[in-house]
């Protein structure tokens, strides 16, 4: 019995070592031999292979992180769920975990966006805390602004992807990569996404958009941000501001004589898929944030820069403006 256990442990050590890239050449050869000759090893390897695949899939779809009620559920419960028909946060923990994934990019983008959207009430010499409170109020104003969004390579900081983000107030947006591969937006009541010559996918709950797309579009990589668990978009400003308020330390780091306020937000405790630092620069007269950068644990960063505050077309936030003849599919 103990000999069997010992053999099983040996086999598992080799298999785990393989998935951890820690086997020596000799151990790899040993594992290969076992796979050729030992049915038990083959069966165990197949099981582990499937488990690894599931763990990667669950991870990609945001189902692995533990529930974080203080981080997501409360903010969503208080703000987001009040406005949209969604599952209450007291349901399953996996749904909350999915929300964590769904909101991850938001912490990056929206922290910025929020802060970006409005700063007009910002008096000179204010504290970071008061700035945040004012931003929550100011984010409710309906103002059109367009930002350039860039995702930077962690190694050389070159631009990996560039997008345009149009905002109208707190909850209406259109985002599109400059390569035109897709366009996604919300008019405040519906979320939608479409590709050139493709249908428009529409839902009234954002969280159903990304998973539905993930299920239906195998080649979802072309959708970039829209379906990535690390970079979904959701623009519920007040809830996100609450997240920042609860989870980030914020400080003003103004340079003497600078025409802009420079603010740095630091995550209080490490979490995967969440930026560790967020920096932004705001015009000291108007309060409008002109630039913001998020710094992620994997050393990558994302930047938003204000391009223009010109008013957008009235229908710009609705899919009919971008895909007038496309088939509409409700999710």
């Amino acid at each position: 019995m103990s000999e069997t256990n010992s053999k099983t442990k040996e086999i598992e050590a080799l298999i785990f070592g393989h998935f951890d890239h820690s086997l020596t050449e000799q151990q790899e050869s040993e594992l290969a031999q076992l796979l050729r000759k030992c049915p038990e090893t083959r069966a165990r390897f197949c099981t582990q292979m499937r488990m690894e695949g599931r763990l990667h899939s669950l991870g990609r779809d945001g189902f692995l992180s533990p529930p974080a009620p203080d981080f997501v559920a409360e903010a969503e419960a208080s703000a987001w769920d009040n406005q949209h028909e969604v599952t209450p946060p007291s349901k399953t923990s996996s749904k909350r975990r999915f929300r964590t994934a769904i909101t991850s990019w938001v912490v990056a983008a929206t922290a910025l966006l929020l802060l970006l959207t409005s700063w007009s009430l910002w008096p000179s010499g204010v504290s970071a805390a008061s700035v945040l409170e004012q931003a929550i109020e100011a984010a409710k104003e309906t103002v059109d602004r367009t930002y350039r969004v860039t995702l930077l390579n962690p190694i050389d900081q070159t631009v990996e992807q560039e997008l345009r983000l149009d905002l109208r107030g707190a909850s209406q947006f259109v985002i599109r990569p400059v390569d035109g591969s897709y366009i996604m937006g919300s008019d405040g009541s519906e979320f939608w996404i479409t590709r050139p010559n493709g249908p428009v996918w529409v839902t009234n709950t954002y969280r159903s958009l990304a998973p539905a797309l993930r299920r239906r579009i195998p080649n979802r990589r072309i959708l970039g941000l829209a379906t990535s668990p690390n970079e979904p978009l959701m623009l519920e400003i007040s809830g996100l501001m609450t997240l920042i308020k609860r989870n980030y330390d914020i400080e003003l780091v103004n340079s003497p004589g600078s025409p802009e306020h420079h603010v740095r937000a630091t995550l209080r405790s490490a979490r995967p898929n969440v930026p560790q630092h967020i920096e932004f620069w705001a015009d000291s007269d108007t309060g409008v944030v002109t630039k913001a950068v998020t710094h992620w644990p994997n050393q990558s960063s994302r930047a938003l820069e204000l391009v223009t505050s010109e008013p957008l077309h009235q229908d710009w936030l609705h899919y009919s403006h971008h895909a007038p003849n496309a088939r509409v599919i409700d999710l």
């Binding site: 695949g53 195998p218 080649n219």
Partner: protein, 178 residues
């Protein structure tokens, strides 16, 4: 409508295929890329008149070929230092091709494992999330957890073992009830 069937089947087999792809590439990004490329082959096949008798076996072969092609041409296994020994690569491919696990076994296993993941304590979930969600290396995980890479690796092995044993227990229970 019939066009969509093969791709739906393909998506249902995602975890199984991703497991194999990760086993031979040990690179989550490359595994995903091969999976996506193979999806294109499946879509093309769906548009042809050729009949596929055993979709799973056929798709496994597509995956296997695409993966080996990707490894040979791109040599991305270098990203993790030494490439996998060719004899092990062949052995894994052979194991994958000859795996006779039925669809229901694979499905039940997935269901059981999901429950086991849900039962893990937060600390353990955090660890596997960093590994599989963020694709973080042992160095990266250990620095954020105030630990050492070796300790992280041991902890991950223990979690794998826990998940495996838990899954098997649940499967046995299901079979017992069946």
């Amino acid at each position: 409508m019939t066009d969509s069937q093969p791709i739906q089947q393909y998506l249902q087999l995602r975890s199984e295929f991703m497991g194999y792809l990760y086993a031979i590439t040990r690179d989550a990004e490359l595994a995903e890329e091969v999976y996506q490329n193979s999806a294109v082959v499946v879509i093309e096949k769906a548009n042809s008149d050729e009949e596929i008798r055993n979709f799973r076996a056929w798709a496994k072969e597509v995956i296997r070929r695409q993966a080996l092609h990707a490894i040979r041409t791109r040599e991305t296994s270098r990203r993790h230092g030494r490439a996998i020994a060719p004899e092990l690569l062949d052995a894994i491919a052979d194991t994958f091709s000859k795996d006779q696990s039925t669809d229901s076994v694979v499905h039940n296993e997935a269901t059981a494992m999901q429950k086991c993941v849900d039962e893990l304590p937060d600390e353990k979930r955090k660890l596997i999330a960093m590994r599989y969600e963020s694709d973080a290396g042992f160095d990266e995980i250990s620095s954020s957890m105030n630990s050492t890479p070796a300790a992280v690796q041991r902890a991950l092995s223990r979690i794998r073992k826990v998940l495996h044993d838990c899954t098997q227990r649940r499967l046995a229970l299901t079979e017992g009830h069946g």
